[in-house]
Symmetry: C2
Subunit: 195 residues, 2 copies
């Protein structure tokens, strides 16, 4: 007996996130999520064409809430030194990734998998983050704190040059004893390149 | 009927590399390699305790021959500007990785898998590469071309900051249209940080 009430996308994503956390992304099927919602899997497929589409939508919402939105707050706070703001932004990104890799391992593993499939969603997420860095770098350039250059190209380079500290494929390196020191040296190099 | 002649490690690695290339790393079993060598799989297991150990040994030899040794030649040629030498070293590493990802896909996929398992072998390979960069950076520091600093820490930072261009987990990003431009911007930032 299923309860075929109209479903919102948000309600499906809430349910999917709970079920994915409980069983892990590999073991969760669309049927598990349908059962949890007490609807038929046909109903679910009317909202999401495949398990892949559902995983991507859950990951997208998770990345927005857990990563992009909190970082937006830092990027929008335009006071003090742009270098300090940029370092805070990068360190917050890195800390959040490291924390979620351990404390929200199911979501993190799913996000790592979705990243390897490189859909448009991940590109959009990265573009959103790079726009935030660009706004900080642009402010630094306007204030004469950073050398004039293309803020977009430089922010892309800063994001790429710090990948090993925030890209999920490097998560197994984050428990290294030298990781803080390594980031510090990369940061010093980049900062003296920006100035 | 098997032909139990004494086997050298080199002969086993030669055979394993051929069989792995033919069937791909996932589909190759130790039995396939034993058959190819016309020995029992027991004989093979006396040399390599597991399929994982054999894959690691094949990858180690492949990395030495294809990556570390050719780069050693560049690191050892101490003439002209250290900045140009460092850029050539990095570009050669990046070009080789990109070429092998396409032209030697089976070996590359196996290497990418072995890297994720992060054994001591990969750490040793990376340390070997970082020593090569350190020798270039040290020369640049001694010549006053680069700011004085710890050559080891800086070479580690340069290697990490260019990971997205040479770490196998990023291989799917290497077909991006902006990859050359991206490397160029990262390089400019790092170089102006070194100077």
């Amino acid at each position: 007996m299923t309860n075929e009430l109209p479903l919102t996308k948000e309600a499906i994503l809430d349910a999917a996130e709970q079920v994915l956390r409980r069983y892990g992304p590999d073991k969760t099927s669309v049927i598990d999520i349908a059962k949890f919602l007490q609807v038929s899997h046909g109903t679910l497929y009317r909202h999401f064409a495949s398990k892949a589409a559902l995983r991507e939508a859950v990951t997208e919402r998770w990345l927005d809430k857990s990563i992009a939105e909190p970082l937006e707050g830092i990027a929008d706070t335009a006071k003090g030194s742009a270098a300090e703001q940029l370092r805070l932004w990068l360190e917050t990104l890195i800390k959040k990734k490291r924390m979620y890799a351990v404390d929200d391992a199911e979501m993190f593993v799913m996000y790592a998998d979705v990243t390897l499939e490189t859909g448009d969603m991940i590109t959009m997420h990265i573009n959103r983050l790079m726009k935030q860095i660009a706004s900080i770098i642009e402010r630094g350039m306007q204030a004469g704190e950073f050398k004039p250059d293309s803020a977009d190209a430089i922010s892309r380079a800063v994001f790429l040059a710090t990948s090993s500290f925030h890209h999920p494929a490097h998560a197994h390196e984050w428990s290294s004893e030298t990781i803080e020191e390594d980031f510090d040296t990369v940061w010093r190099l980049l900062l003296s390149g920006l100035k």
